[in-house]
Symmetry: C2
Subunit: 243 residues, 2 copies
């Protein structure tokens, strides 16, 4: 068996998320059926983690084992014509069997993009949340400082998230203004369900002055209902996975 590591980008708009589910279009499902057509055998694709329906990836990482087939570095060329246009194979490698897309990951970065202009831009609307009007960026940056670090993020994940330890180390939240866009990068060692979208939605609520609770108080409440709104999926992209 040879283990292949592949870095892919995808436009999440037309996918019901990364994880395979019967009867709907998923990134994992498309990868597995494409590999089955290529290799003639069924392989199981492992991702670095799931992304929700509508969430994009600039650099998701997956791996699989194959008894025969192309060299890792050949895969982008081989898959480019076989995969649907909304999945782009970026880089392939043949790796040691000790590598695991999910368990070997040491950190992840997500990017959330806000469009601040009065009108949406036709060329970016699929990849942004349109937030016109005033935002107090200073208030958002101060709040972000209080959210960084090792915390119990129960208030900032989907209420339905299965019982488990909700402590995560959110290493950095970084803001980047570009023309009328605001990119927010979240770097951490792991993320809970909807965590980046709830963090972003809550930061926007603070920026609009619509949420009175302090970041520290929301964290300590350990209750999803006291945090702000969940930002829409389309503004979010899995930006980088570190190994």
């Amino acid at each position: 068996m040879t283990r292949i590591k592949l870095t892919i980008a995808y436009d999440g708009t037309q996918f019901h998320g990364f994880a395979r589910q019967p009867g709907v279009r998923t990134v994992q499902g498309e990868l597995e059926s494409t590999l089955q057509r290529l290799l003639g055998i069924s392989v199981e694709v492992h991702g670095s983690g799931r992304t929700d329906a509508g969430v994009h990836a600039r650099a998701q990482v997956v791996h699989w084992d194959q008894p025969f087939g192309p060299e890792g570095t050949r895969y982008p060329f081989v898959l480019q014509r076989l995969l649907p246009a909304d999945i782009i194979p970026i880089r392939g490698e043949t790796v040691e069997e000790t590598f695991h897309a999910r368990f070997s990951a040491t950190g992840k970065t997500y990017r959330y993009t806000l469009q601040r202009a009065a009108m949406e831009d036709i060329f970016t609307r699929r990849y942004c949340w349109h937030v016109p009007g005033h935002l107090d960026l200073y208030a958002m940056q101060q709040a972000a400082k209080d959210l960084m670090g090792y915390h119990d993020f129960t208030s900032y994940c989907a209420a339905a998230t299965a019982m488990e330890d909700k402590h995560r180390n959110l290493c950095e939240i970084r803001f980047e203004s570009r023309d009328t866009y605001l990119n927010i990068y979240f770097h951490g060692n792991g993320f809970l369900q909807n965590m980046v979208r709830i963090l972003t939605g809550t930061l926007v609520d603070w920026g609009r002055g619509e949420l009175q609770h302090s970041p520290a108080w929301v964290l300590s409440a350990r209750d999803r209902r006291v945090a702000g709104q969940t930002a829409p999926a389309r503004g979010l992209a899995l930006w980088q996975v570190e190994y």
Copy 2:
């Protein structure tokens, strides 16, 4: 009757072009059915010109007459929630009855975008033509110079274009490099069917050294078959209409 001028942007990917056609989704069809729902009467929408299936617009201009209804400046707010997400109403005005979206136009600019990187970018692939590999930009710019001006563009329009005068004044072809993108702006007083896409495809053929005929010779041949390929629709956007 009041005449309304509206500037719209659209993502052409899911449209069979601008012009209304029975049984398929078109920009004009969506605008007319939305206005019918809003006003309760049927209005005819006039565009500055057609765009082909898959071609985008950053600023298409349309007009219509209404016996009653919102002020021109109100239309972007009114239509924003009524139109499908791939049409964005940018600016509305109430104009004189002498204004006509098509006949009052004095010039138009189209933008064609090439993506030069080895791999497509997931966030821009719908709006670019992916052209990896070497392109001789100097050769393209020299060829562009010979194409500017008042010429018979028979060689650079769809062979099926109906009998008519094929002379047009192509005022300017301007190149703009941005990271791995090459934008080519075409400014003129009128364009023939597929003209910008054939000009772009032929410029790329020259850039790749794949076309031996000179621009002047291709012009003088008055034969579509001697020009180069037709660039794909998705890289093209109607950029601006002048009045």
